[in-house]
Subunit: 167 residues, 2 copies
DNA sequence: GCAACAATTGTTATTGTATAACATTTTATG
DNA sequence: CATAAAATGTTATACAATAACAATTGTTGC
């Protein structure tokens, strides 16, 4: 998760080392699950790994395809149950505007979900702007509305794709 | 659309006169369509009316049910095409987190979509907080991200439902 | 009016997203 | 090791959205 000032450096570029971030995500998940005494079972681990390794948001059926073994792919409910667990633990976020899922870059801290989503390359940057969070909570409070969850999804063009379009 | 300071008054209460807001929404839509020289055809009008009369966000198939005549309900594509038109004209917003649709309270002004959604009664309040919009744009700019559309959907409990739960 | 074209609607089929209900297996606990 | 809880397997279905093409309706210029 990036704060806004370093955002420009942190938007995932096509060539960054995604394998190592996937590894650290899995490691962190294992540690946190041990702490919380919940089980990161094989299926759950498998789903998290697929999502973490993906450069872009992954749809549930895309994940299913990648889970396919010699006997074909598992039933959809398998992946949805794993996703439910992973989301409950904060390891994965759901992007409502894409019906897709991405690994959380910072699963420790409980935070609102705020995303920049490139419509071209589908890269996703999670960010956390305190001003934004505060504005939402103030707005809710003014309406006597008690907030459970906030969804902020901004779609547009990432810098790399914008450059590519101008060529 | 409410600004934040008057939000508390404007969150739709269970007993407000929704019929009259539906009427004024339809009237406005007719006027705007005439101005723009686009056609508010029977199907489109019908879909808008159903959405406008609904106290809560309406799913596409819920709308279909309400469109059903003696010959059964129309094909899904009918309602989706009407929704495409109504969204293009700014009369209806889509709530990504619910896969549902609500009438826009202020179709004139072009604005980002910001919603408070009660998880209990499914009432929806559209609001517009300039601070929030600004924070999003600043964040995007810091990431050299050019924004097409922003979605802010806050789910929680509205004041009425919160009161009801404490009883 | 009417030919030509554009916009809208109708029809059928299909793809994608997600959950329900219930059976079976695996894991934790006394 | 018996039992309960958690997780997975299986089958079926509901809900969401679009594709492809045909038929109809509306608009425009002649």
């Amino acid at each position: 998760m990036a704060n806004l000032h370093s955002a420009i450096e942190l938007f995932p570029t096509p060539d960054h080392d995604h394998h190592s971030c996937a590894a650290s995500i899995l490691e962190a998940a294992e540690r946190i699950c041990a702490e919380r005494r919940v089980r990161l079972t094989e299926k759950r681990r498998q789903v998290l790994e697929i999502i973490a390794k993906s450069h872009t948001a992954a749809g549930a059926y895309e994940i299913l395809e990648k889970m396919a073994g010699p006997k074909g792919r598992p039933a959809p409910v398998i992946v949805y149950r794993a996703l439910d667990f992973l989301m409950a633990q904060g390891f994965v976020h759901r992007l409502a505007s894409l019906n897709a899922f991405i690994a959380c870059a910072n699963p420790q801290s409980d935070h609102g979900s705020q995303f920049l989503i490139c419509r071209d390359c589908r890269a996703v940057m999670e960010f956390s702007n305190p001003t934004l969070g505060k504005a939402i909570h103030e707005g809710a409070q003014a309406a006597s509305f008690s907030v459970d969850a906030t969804m902020v999804e901004v779609s547009g063009l990432c810098a790399a794709c914008a450059r590519a379009q101008h060529e």
